[in-house]
Amino acid sequence: MNIHEYQAKDILRNEGVPIPPGEVASTPEQVEAIAKQYGGTVVVKAQVHAGGRGKAGGVKLAKNPAEAKEIAKSILALHIKGLPVLKVLVTPAADIAAEAYVGIILDRASKKPVFMVSPAGGIDIEEVAAKTPEKILKLPIDTRYGLQPYQASRLGFFLFDDVKKVRAAAKIMMQLYSAFMKSGCSLAEINPLVTTPAGDVVALDAKMVIDDNELDRLPAIAAMRDESAEESSEVMARNANLTFIKLDGDVGCVVNGAGLAMATMDLVKYYGGEPANFLDIGGSSNPEKVVNALKIITADKNVKAILFNIFGGITRTDDVANGIVTATKQSPLQVPIVIRLTGTNEEIAMKILQENGFSASSDMDEAVKKAVELAKGGKAA
């Protein structure tokens, strides 16, 4: 789960990380009022779950409240990577002497959270990693012991020479690590971590990604979810316990299991089609899940054909067949459907489908080919 910058900053402030004040607004008038209250130059920052905000024009300086209002109007009208900007964060502009990068990422290879710090912070940390890897220090942390003070200090010395700044940075490392663990993060970043001309070390931006598997035991974090900032079909899918990602193609896919779902999308592409989505109905399916899956798929106007690919293990294929029948009785399909079912209770499933006027096959290759052809035919018509 992604959370907004202002939410990540709230979490870090609670840990004691020095962060300039900021307020969230959703109208230009509110932004103007906040800018008045702060006085001086402010930064208006789009709060949206997409990277590259700055490059997309979502982060701007305003010298006075009137300019802040105008800038807010333009930012709140933006779509960044397809997502509308509904909120902005307003914060006083800081004096920056230098920018560093500090992040923690859950790393598959070392099977540990890994600290990653660089004195070359700012926008393009990827480029720093690619061109000057010596400017990045990576430090894996054993979570059974946690981040030790000597490690925090080593990270600090990699960023700064001045001992006072090193101590300040080391303290921030400890606070960031604490927030990372308590909030169930898979990623936590401060970029930039700046030094001011006065010598203070301050976090100007924060990003956190939460491991979805943590949300059941972290209700306060789970409550930070902002559904208005997500694709509406993905919100609907999640609330129905389905894993769904919308894509741009026209073959709607309903599959059980993530690996098979991806392989199905790949096969659609292999035969010259374009998948409209990734949709995994999961292990123990019940008919209701299938009904919801069909609702989500048919709501996408780009879908020209629907493809079911179910390999029944835990999933009972008769449950899926019943779901298809129920859903299409509630709202008849406007596009053709191709059904591939095999595995647990296959004979019962085939019978249910036949009795209700559906044909189904047990061959994946054949089914995918047919769905791609039907989607193309639909386009021409």
């Binding site: 290879a109 990045i136 054993d142 690996g259 999308m265 293990g313």
Partner: protein
């Protein structure tokens, strides 16, 4: 022969009275797996299906049965504890089926299991099966048949799909291992490839990977350096949109973005067969055996 699991394996089921645990315990018993004990705290002294003794703790179950394998079906928030308990009690093969285990929990579990000298498979995996001998987990027994293909995969249903096609084409399996798709899991491709290379029954290996991480690339390098037996690989997610799972720091840390193209390239560089579709395994394996 086979890898990790054979007809002598004795198995504990942690969470044997739960909905999933009880259903699959029965399925495993029907398949012929030697289920010697169940564990459900508070139900010690009872019997499952009138035959399998239930214990309150894994330590009690081990004292009574000295099993060498355990399979875990407990809810996600308790899975880490169940794995730690099994490793601490001296179980050598721990198979965690549970989906949805917090990844940070696994950062504590993984080094502990290693230090105890146990092998963990999973979490979030379908388990493993040595056809005709034993199954531990949830892989449907009827799609498998004994033979000489070793199967290793990060996914569940995709494994079933491929195994089913192998079986229909007369290519039986030595052992099928589902290692699970979570970012941190106990057993990786290389562990399984090394075991298949050493196993006399296995003549060739089918390997199903996914986008994300660098496990497949490392496995390809292992194939190139250490394997004499032919390996055919497939990568799911060739059309998946990039960047939907993790921010850029993930890509930086591993020095690679873990794309399908990159992984397929590493397979080719290692001289492996590359299945473009799941149905291509049969032909590619036959051509190499």
């Amino acid at each position: 022969m086979s890898v990790f699991l054979d007809d002598k394996s004795t198995v504990i089921v942690q969470g044997i009275t739960g909905r999933d645990g009880s259903f699959h315990a029965k399925q495993m018993m029907e398949y012929g797996t030697k289920i010697v004990a169940g564990v459900t705290p508070g139900k010690g002294g009872q019997k499952f299906e009138g035959t399998v003794p239930i214990f309150n703790t894994v330590a009690d179950a081990m004292a009574a049965t000295n099993a060498n394998t355990t399979v875990i079906y407990v809810p996600p928030m308790f899975a880490a504890d169940a794995i730690l308990e099994a490793a601490d009690a001296g179980v050598k093969l721990i198979v965690a089926i549970t989906e949805g285990v917090p990844v940070l929990d696994m950062t504590r579990v993984y080094p502990f299991v290693k230090e105890k000298g146990a092998r963990l498979i999973g979490p979030n995996c379908p388990g493993l099966i040595t056809p005709g001998k034993s199954k531990v987990g949830i892989i449907p027994g009827r799609i498998c048949t004994p033979g000489s293909i070793g199967v290793v995969s990060r996914s569940g249903t995709l494994t079933y799909e491929v195994v089913y096609q192998l079986t229909r084409a007369g290519l039986g399996q030595s052992t099928c291992v589902g290692i699970g798709g979570d970012p941190i899991n106990g057993t990786n491709f290389i562990d399984c490839l090394a075991a298949f290379e050493a196993d006399p029954q296995t003549k060739a290996v089918a390997m199903m990977g996914e986008i994300g991480g660098t496990d497949e690339q490392e496995a390809a390098e292992f194939v190139k350096q250490h394997m004499k037996k032919p390996v055919v690989g497939f990568i799911a997610g060739q059309t998946a949109p990039p960047g939907r799972r993790m921010g850029h720091a993930g890509a930086i840390i591993s020095g690679s973005s873990g794309t399908a193209a990159e992984k397929i390239q590493s397979f080719e560089a290692a001289g492996m067969g590359v299945a473009k579709r799941p149905m291509d395994f049969v032909e590619l394996l036959k051509a190499r055996m």
